[in-house]
Symmetry: C2
Subunit: 191 residues, 2 copies
Amino acid sequence: MKLLEDRILRDGVVKGGNILKVDSFLNHQIDVRLYDEIGKELYRLFKDEPVTKVLTIESSGIGLAVAAAREFDVPALFAKKNRTKNIDGEVYSSAVESFTTGITYTIIVSKHFLGPQDHVLIVDDFLANGNALLGLIEIVEQSHAKLVGCGIAIEKGFQSGGKMIREKGIRVESLAIIDKMDENGIVFRPQ
Amino acid sequence: MKLLEDRILRDGVVKGGNILKVDSFLNHQIDVRLYDEIGKELYRLFKDEPVTKVLTIESSGIGLAVAAAREFDVPALFAKKNRTKNIDGEVYSSAVESFTTGITYTIIVSKHFLGPQDHVLIVDDFLANGNALLGLIEIVEQSHAKLVGCGIAIEKGFQSGGKMIREKGIRVESLAIIDKMDENGIVFRPQ
């Protein structure tokens, strides 16, 4: 998606430790027009699937999931990172280690909102080592819903997550795939 | 906002400990059409203010902030609950105790995205004891931005947060204010 690649080139900042800062438009401050366009592009890619739910994980995925769900006219649903008083005991759950913080946490989704009748599109802002996505995929499996695929804003193609998940036979569509990034610049995978 | 009140009456569940579960449409599963309408109503209420940023706190506020920011055509911005590797050292910060979990955490906003030139609308899904809102207000004060007011989806009018913040002279617009809730039902404040 050229709009996103151009924005990454303009406003993204490459840091040490394979960190790409896109917090001026994607995951701290949010460019709502860009989110709309990402939602439309995910709809274009997956519109032939009978999507009934768009699933993501808090926090950075929520706005993107809402943007995509608006296009499909279905509910968005976000996995929560801790058990709070507001969640019933009846949940699907999975353990996820965060690339950003290094912390392992449990993600949960209420069983009320996902079941065998659902066709699920998973959405997230980043795909790096794939841990968050694997956790969401496990939750979809627990619910016996059909996984339509994964729609990602930015994939770090030099990390193993995208390859690993595609090798499971799961469709992964990343709107920008970075094959290389360092102080000299960012190289996108041609799509 | 009658649409929201009706939805709370239809799908909200009152639990012990002053918990109102609205996770089927507001803060776990998300009704994206309702979010659009909430965004439009917040615009209607605050459209005479020169809003430049819509600020919220992760996670449940993010979708609502995006919905409102779309109407104002300005960026959304969400305070993060922990310091991660992706945030620079230069942040505004405030301590907040969560009503839902009882945990006290630090919320942070990058200084890059809020400053004296900004007119800020704060948005959140719930207003109860007001702790999250006070944290966001403190961050706006630190930035020397102008606080336009606070737009809330559901205020628990029987808790002290709304009164306390309005007494500071801050405009608070809550789309549904609950004066009483128990096993017999929910009573809204006439607006």
